[in-house]
């Protein structure tokens, strides 16, 4: 902690003297390597360098934010002036002044020890890794006709300092890849997606070898080509960990982000109450070892933690940043008395910003449904006809609690056994109604790397065990 700390502290000092009651500086020095390939050809190798700072201040209960693409003292000074100016203009109009929930100041240096540092891996080897996936997908089935792969590694350091006395230097490390492939036979189109990510380093390719990944995607697409359309309507279903993850994240998770809850999500009237069946426990956890949504401190300098959102069907916490923890503390008396003490309000370490260009928002980390005791066989044996839903194409949810998820891999369940594959399926419905219909939860568990968009992109992990719902609305094109 040398020069950088002194420089950021003097900027904070300057901001406070200019009239801010709170000042925070987030500076980054980041390198990116990005490779994109199409059909076995490397389109482009990008080497990027990004350096800059985002400064956030509070003046009379209003936020001001400014960014600058450099770290020299005079640019930072100009940015803090901009931020204070912005906050002052807004502060005259604030009816509910922003206050921050108190947290203990932290001083820390967080070094990541990568399994393999992507900076030590040659561009050649990175290209080769990506092209091996491509080759596996194409050779898996001759009807495969396109494969697009993106690879990115992000490395660097983030510096965080605020006027409460917190100073953190934290390494950043992400290795990520996404593969899209498609196939066609006559009028039948099939497409699939796989995504992997690690916060540990390039070593992920030793576990998830390019060949394993390619085969998984190849098989998914091949199955779709012979798959049949689903029947529309309500059916019992067993959801795999990937679907459970998207459900925990998209359908439920966003409703429990305190800013969206406060905005009027359907959870607002249900704090401390039963919203899901007793089999359902949903957790957002920033501390999962190697999880794609894991980190030590969030972008307000609050330690990441394991936050239980739903315990045995009851909402017991939300995901908070410092602003919304303070807002909900003021709101606590509106929570029914019998459950008030059960409901926990404190900053949970969910404040995340994509980079220095944007201020932090409440974002998820690793979001999952906790495993219980059923085996997969026990989950499906009683289903006479239903669906086993494995993998999704995309999902969306609304604050009123409705959701829609497009499915890229699913099977019929016939007389207690997994049957034929189904294509172009989607599931939709009301999240809380569906959670109440969960009647058995498996004992397996996996987390899948993903990215979440809420104006900014955040790396997340989503997952859980297999589970069974008594009824879910199945839709399908054609």
């Amino acid at each position: 902690m040398g020069l950088m700390k002194d420089e950021l502290m003097s900027i904070i000092d300057y901001g406070q003297k200019s009239g801010a009651s709170y000042v925070e500086v987030r500076a980054q020095n980041i390198s990116k390597t990005i490779i994109s390939t199409k059909d076995g050809k490397v389109e482009v190798v990008t080497e990027g360098l990004e350096k800059g700072a985002g400064i956030r201040v509070l003046v009379n209960g209003a936020w001001g934010f400014a960014t600058v693409g450099s770290l020299d003292a005079s640019s930072l000074k100009k940015a803090v002036e901009d931020a204070v100016k912005m906050a002052k203009v807004a502060s005259g109009k604030v009816r509910m002044p922003v206050t921050l929930f108190d947290v203990k100041p932290v001083e820390d240096i967080v070094k990541i020890k990568p399994d393999i540092d992507p900076r030590d891996v040659s561009i050649d080897e990175k290209m080769d890794t990506v092209l091996r996936i491509d080759k596996t997908v194409f050779s898996y089935d001759k009807r495969v006709k396109s494969c697009t792969i993106s690879y990115a590694d992000i490395t660097g350091v983030q510096y965080f300092a605020n006027s409460d006395g917190t100073y953190i230097e934290q390494d950043k490390l992400y290795v990520w890849s996404r593969i899209f492939a498609s196939a066609r036979e006559g009028d039948i189109f099939a497409s699939g997606r796989e995504e992997i990510g690690s916060t540990k380093g390039f070593g992920i390719w030793e576990k998830e070898t390019p060949e394993k990944l390619g085969e998984k995607l190849g098989e998914r697409i091949k199955l779709q080509l012979k798959a049949k359309p689903p029947k529309g309507g309500g059916f019992p279903a067993v959801l795999g960990p990937e679907i459970v993850g998207v459900f925990a994240h998209e359908a439920f998770g966003h409703l429990a982000e305190a800013d969206l809850t406060f905005a009027g999500s359907v959870i607002l009237d249900k704090l401390g109450r039963q919203v899901a069946s007793e089999h359902v426990t949903i957790i957002d956890d920033g501390t999962v070892e190697g999880g794609f949504g894991s980190f030590k401190y969030d972008d307000e300098g609050v330690p990441a933690q394991k936050t239980v959102l739903i315990k045995d069907g009851v909402v017991i916490s939300l995901m908070f940043d410092r602003e919304y923890a303070a807002k909900f503390e003021a709101f606590r008396r509106k929570i029914p008395e019998d459950v008030r003490d059960l409901f926990e309000i404190k900053p949970t370490g969910n404040a995340r910003a994509e980079d220095f260009r944007v201020p932090p928002l409440i974002r998820m980390r690793n979001t999952y449904i906790a495993p219980r005791d059923h085996s997969f066989e026990e989950l499906i044996e009683d289903i006479d006809f239903g669906y086993y839903i494995v993998s999704f194409r995309g999902g969306q949810a609304n604050l009123d609690g409705t959701f829609q998820v497009g499915v890229q891999e699913a099977y019929e369940i016939v007389k207690g056994e997994v049957g034929e594959p189904v294509r172009n399926m989607s599931i939709s419905g009301n999240t809380l109604e569906t959670l109440l219909k969960v009647d058995a939860v498996g004992k397996d568990f996996s987390l899948i790397a993903g990215r979440c968009g809420k104006g900014q992109t955040a790396f997340t992990g989503d997952g859980g065990p297999h589970l069974r719902v008594r009824e879910i609305l199945i839709g399908g094109a054609r």
């Binding site: 807004a90 290209m127 989607s426």
Partner: protein
């Protein structure tokens, strides 16, 4: 260590430096943008920001090997280092046999209503006022409305490009946006999320309308009723068309999708692919268009490109690379933007293919007239889940929200749990009316469109 302020100077410097380092062909694209934004959250203004982002991306080609590097520093030394990195990245890459050459200079069009100095000179207070006017209009409409998210913002963008073929270009643009998302609560009823916006390149914006509309939409979709499944005529508003086409029709007319055999419209030029009522052209020079500019992401002039004329497929969208692969000319559709939005390109990205302004020729019927002609059907403002559509087959399955039932020529009530299933390439054949209410919605400029025999599934 000198920092270069002039964008055109910096791209020329980058080209020179890369050539000195061994590049055969070089293209440098620099951008600078300043965004002033006042954010609304939970019914009040509580956050405002000034973000300035600038940088340069350098593309280098050596013996058909392509390399790219970028930096967000305009420091002369960093730019030189970045040029060197691009050269190294090209040398590490494998040759692309389809690479021909970078584009050559051509006369640039004049474009109108894309820059307004009044936007540049707006004070932060002015931007706050716009947000307040919008907010007041929403809250005074009905007490049950919560304007939970919104913003007013101004954007000022400068872009410069230079390449080793002699292209040199500079462009400057502005935009102003006011946006509001609301929900209405009247326990036990909660409306779906309803959003409205107004965006323009010049200082002509109606925040009161945005606030009132966002509020009206939420109130009018507060008490949703379930409906019968079946096949109905459906009127799609701009928001819904944007969501649906972004994941179906747009990729289908992109030359890169065509060349990779990933489009259902491949090989159909000259064929009837849509209703005779549908005429679409991509017009990068459209007066005041949110995507209008002098040149595309490779310095190629923006132009008008016919896509569908009276239902007959006329052409696809090309950038320099995909065009030269077929010995054609680029249609000026090289795109460097990160995501959808107003006018902004990123120095950190290499060019792909995307529409500029995708313009649907309006019809003569008014929006009210369109509703009055439907005995039983739906009016769909937006859809959820369009990104899970299959871009190649056109198959889709989306939830319509907000959405209203039309009965006997009038909007009868809000409909909930309405799922639209079908195939976009069948749906565009069933267009039975195109309204006259053109609206700019990101890259799309379209009126409402009526499509018949749309399959509706419900719970």
């Amino acid at each position: 260590m000198k920092t270069v302020e002039n964008l055109l100077e910096i791209v020329k410097l980058a080209v020179k430096e890369a050539e000195r380092a061994g590049a055969k062909e070089t293209e440098a694209f620099a951008s600078w943008n300043r965004n002033v934004e006042v954010e609304i959250s939970q019914g009040q203004i509580a956050k405002s920001s000034i973000t300035v982002d600038q940088g340069i991306g350098i593309r280098v080609i050596i013996d058909k090997r392509i390399g790219f590097a970028y930096t967000n520093s305009f420091n002369e030394k960093t730019v030189k280092e970045t040029a060197l990195k691009a050269v190294k990245s090209a040398k590490a890459n494998k040759p692309d046999k389809n690479w021909k050459e970078l584009p050559s200079p051509k006369p640039l069009p004049t474009v109108e209503e894309v820059f307004d100095n009044k936007i540049v000179e707006m004070s932060v207070e002015d931007v706050v006022k716009i947000a307040l006017r919008m907010l007041d209009a929403a809250t005074s409409y009905d007490k049950r409305v919560i304007p939970f998210m919104g913003s007013s913002s101004t954007i000022h963008v400068k872009e410069a490009i230079a390449n080793s073929q002699g292209i040199e270009g500079f462009d400057e643009g502005t935009a102003i946006v006011s946006y509001l998302a609301t929900i209405a609560r009247d326990p036990p009823h909660v409306s779906p999320w309803c959003a409205e916006f107004d965006a323009n390149r010049i200082l002509k914006i109606d925040p009161e309308w945005v606030g009132k509309e966002a509020a009206r939409l939420a109130i009018e979709s507060l008490k949703g009723e379930k409906v019968e499944k079946g096949e109905y005529p459906v009127i799609f508003m701009q928001d819904a068309l944007f969501s649906l086409w972004t994941y179906t029709l747009i990729p289908a007319v992109r030359s890169d999708y065509i060349q990779r055999d990933r489009s259902a419209l491949k090989g159909k030029i000259g064929q009837q692919v849509a209703s005779e009522l549908l005429t679409i052209l991509d017009d990068g020079t459209y007066k005041g268009g949110l995507k209008t500019s002098k040149f595309d992401g490779e310095g190629v002039p923006r132009q008008k490109t016919p896509i569908i004329e009276k239902g007959i497929l006329k052409g696809y969208l090309y950038n320099n690379y995909t065009a030269k692969k077929e010995n054609k000319e680029s249609t000026g559709n090289a795109d460097r933007s990160e995501s959808y939005g107003v006018v902004r390109s990123s120095y950190a990205l290499t060019p792909t293919v995307a529409p500029s302004n995708f313009f649907v020729k309006p019809g003569t019927i008014s929006s009210d007239g369109m509703i009055s002609e439907i005995k039983e059907g739906f009016l769909v403002k937006d859809v959820q889940g369009a990104h899970s559509s299959n871009p190649e087959s056109g198959e889709l399955s989306v939830v319509a929200t907000p959405c209203w039932k039309i009965e006997n020529g009038e909007i009868a009530y809000a409909a909930k749990g309405v799922m639209i299933v079908g195939n976009m390439y069948d749906m565009i054949k069933n267009v039975t009316a195109v309204a006259n209410n053109l609206r700019k919605y990101d890259y799309l400029i379209t009126p409402w469109i009526r499509i018949d025999n749309v399959k509706i599934v419900t719970k």
